[in-house]
């Protein structure tokens, strides 16, 4: 069984990255038409323009849906086997495995790009195949390219295993659900992509170029590991069980022999399956996340059944959540801090009354009236590459949102939004939708008496923008369940 190791914990003299560099060089020397080549493998994730003949084979990366995790597992699995084949052909070990970049440790040094990826040349004077100039200058100079908000696991490792807004897996990938990333995809996945590629023409920030950067694969190895970590964190954390997710959709990749292999989600759920047969040196849940957090103090829900939408099976079931507030028009973001009022005409009392058909107690606390609160940024579009904002709730007027960490909602790195906003693209120009489970924050602020039941205030702080980003949010909305 291959073991994927933490790149920051490789022992002195470990040759894993040296062999990776040699294999990358060998792959880069092959023509793009060769499935064993570097550029062919990168194009599977994204390429622009897409040659018509390669439609269906290149530019196939899955984002904003529950297929994000399984597709990328298949992708890096086959890539790993191809690199291993090159390593073996070059005289290296036969059990080479892709390491992972674990930037979520308590060691601040891991927030920097691993050293062997930073230098343009090797000690021998030869070009370093692991170096890419198209990265954030901070990354290539060894600075802390990632920050605590980029790698915060507190949301994704505690989120529920659903395709609902704020769930671990992202949207259900069915019609009219929109493109909605899950919690792991949003942070740290999107944030790391954006920060490493945060420069004009940065590769990691652009899905059409990201996989050209050798660090891409170590990043996704870690994302794949975090899927296992999430499963380890809570006995209630389970993979989805819908037949649609498991078996209905197939993907094709090239294996190490160059043959096409067809894979389904169900094929890649167990790391011990013969097709996978790998493990991570550490996939245990950080202790800080193993204890279940306090849930809302709510008696047995009496409202409508909140079914998890899973596609066509949702027909004829009750709607899972209820809109309680939304902006009346689109809002635009740029390179300045922006605040927007969010009218919420449906109060928690009114929501519970409509759900139960009975008036709740006037003294009922918000957490007793509302089980779940989700904040949505709907139909977000932009022509920029991965604009990024920190989102805050109810920051007092005139205050700097960054001084109110307790009102921080999420960092939204809009990886892939340029492609999702292209009317002629395969997404139809619908943009992306981001959803955040803000139940704890909402209840906390309500307990403090800092929630006006008729209106909220949402603030956006641009994160180290390159130039002036132009982002349109079709609607900011609030839902109760």
């Amino acid at each position: 069984m291959r073991e994927r190791k933490d790149v920051y914990k490789l022992l002195p003299g470990d040759q894993t990255l040296d062999w990776y560099a040699r294999a990358v060089a060998a792959m880069q020397a092959l023509p793009q038409t060769d499935p064993m080549s570097w550029r062919y493998q990168a194009a599977i994730h994204g390429i622009n323009p897409l040659p018509t003949a390669m439609t269906g084979t290149w530019a196939e990366c899955q984002h904003g849906s529950s297929f994000f995790l399984p597709w990328h597992r298949m992708y890096i699995l086959n890539f790993e086997r191809i690199v291993a084949m090159h390593v073996a052909n070059l005289g290296g070990p036969t059990d080479w495995a892709l390491p992972y970049w674990n930037y979520t440790t308590s060691d601040a040094a891991t927030l920097a790009l691993p050293p062997k990826f930073r230098t343009p040349t090797l000690p021998s004077g030869a070009t370093n195949p692991l170096y890419v100039a198209q990265r954030s200058p901070i990354a290539n100079t060894g600075g802390p390219v990632l920050g605590p908000r980029d790698v915060d696991l507190s949301t994704c490792l505690t989120s529920s295993g659903t395709t609902s807004p704020g769930g671990f897996f992202g949207g259900p990938a069915v019609a009219h659900s929109g493109s909605m990333p899950g919690t792991l995809e949003l942070t740290p996945h999107n944030a790391v992509h954006r920060q490493v590629g945060n420069t004009f023409g940065g590769w990691m920030a652009d899905p059409d170029l990201a996989a050209l950067d050798p660090i891409f694969w170590l990043h996704h190895s870690n994302i794949d590991r975090l899927w296992e970590v999430w499963l380890d964190c809570d006995p209630l954390h389970k993979n989805l069980t819908s037949a649609y997710w498991l078996t209905a959709v197939t993907f094709q990749f090239h294996d190490a022999t160059g043959s096409l292999v067809t894979m389904r989600t169900a094929d890649v759920l167990s790391l011990t399956a013969p097709m996978l047969d790998y493990k991570y040196s550490d996939a245990s849940c950080p202790i800080a996340f193993s204890a279940p957090g306090p849930g809302p103090i709510v008696p047995t829900p009496t409202g409508p059944v909140a079914a998890t939408p899973t596609g066509i099976g949702t027909l004829m079931t009750a709607l899972p959540r209820e809109l309680v507030g939304a902006t009346l028009s689109a809002v635009r973001l740029g390179d300045k801090v922006a605040h927007f009022p969010l009218p919420t005409p449906v109060t928690p009392q009114a929501f519970r009354f409509a759900a139960d058909k009975a008036a709740p107690s006037q003294s009922a606390m918000t957490r007793q009236l509302v089980n779940q609160v989700t904040l949505h940024l709907e139909q977000v579009t932009s022509t920029d590459v991965a604009p990024t904002y920190d989102v805050f709730l109810n920051v007092p007027i005139g205050d700097d949102p960054n001084k109110h960490e307790d009102r921080f909602v999420a960092r939204v790195a809009m990886f892939g939004i340029k492609q999702a906003s292209d009317p002629l693209g395969s997404h139809g120009g619908g943009g992306q939708t981001f959803a955040f489970d803000i139940t704890k924050l909402y209840h906390h602020l309500a307990d403090l008496g800092e929630i006006d039941p008729k209106s909220l205030r949402v603030s956006f702080v641009p994160v180290s923008p390159i130039g002036t980003p132009h982002v349109t949010i079709g609607r900011i909305s609030l839902y109760f369940a």
């Binding site: 019609a175 492609q419 999702a420 909305s477």
Partner: protein, 224 residues
């Protein structure tokens, strides 16, 4: 009414069922396999067209109806769903009007023309651009939550879905219409149409911005 607020997709399913019942009833009453006679009036043709849209196309909007309702206040759900259906159907009524006008010509009553349209529908399904139209059939637009703008947005959302659906399905619908809404052709079209679609994922309403799930040879010219 409360039930429809929570389960608005029941409305389009109910409309579809009623449409099929109406067409079956008409056909049974006339002891034919189609609900229209050989030479219906233009008004009858248009009415039959609208009922056919209700029977064949509206069920495909069930998930969209849920989406529009979910993105609206509970108190406005039925209203916006009806506006969505109106917007979606209005697109098809425009096409139906053109169709009814074309029925002045004998060629538009010829079963050979219907057969040709069936072949065209099959060929249409193979067009690469059709996949793009299909994706646009599911595009969400922002919905204003209240006021006249909310009504307009719900109607627009229906039209935004209806227009690309017309591009996708018009040959099939014309084929059905030319036969006088022959029930065998309609049922066959309703059953076979999904299989023409580019992939199973699309049949199920695939929407992600990069998705194929297809089986396909990967080598080809022009690569590199």
């Amino acid at each position: 009414m409360i039930s429809l607020q929570s389960r608005p997709d029941r409305l389009v399913i109910a409309i579809a069922v009623l449409s099929w019942v109406w067409m079956l009833g008409e056909a049974a009453a006339a002891q034919r396999l189609s609900c229209c006679g050989p030479h219906p009036t233009q008004a009858a043709d248009l009415i039959s067209w609208i009922v056919m849209v209700g029977a064949m196309m509206l069920p495909t909007t069930a998930l969209a109806v849920r989406d529009v309702a979910t993105r609206s206040f509970r108190s406005r759900r039925l209203r916006v769903v009806l506006e969505y259906i109106l917007g979606y159907t209005a697109c098809w009524i425009l096409v139906g009007t053109v169709f009814a006008l074309l029925r002045r010509y004998p060629l538009a009553h010829d079963l050979r023309t219907a057969a040709a349209m069936c072949l065209l529908a099959a060929a249409w399904a193979m067009l690469p651009v059709r996949a793009h139209w299909f994706v646009r059939c599911h595009r969400q637009i922002p919905l204003c939550p209240s006021g006249p703008r909310s009504d307009l947005d719900a109607f627009r959302q229906g039209a935004v879905h209806g227009a690309p659906c017309i591009k996708t399905c018009w040959p099939l619908m014309f084929a059905c219409g030319i036969t006088g809404h022959d029930l065998v052709v309609m049922i066959g079209g309703a059953v076979l149409a999904p299989t023409f679609r580019r992939s199973r994922f699309e049949f199920l309403g695939g929407f992600d911005w990069r998705f194929s799930g297809r089986t396909r040879q990967v080598s080809g010219p022009g690569v590199g």
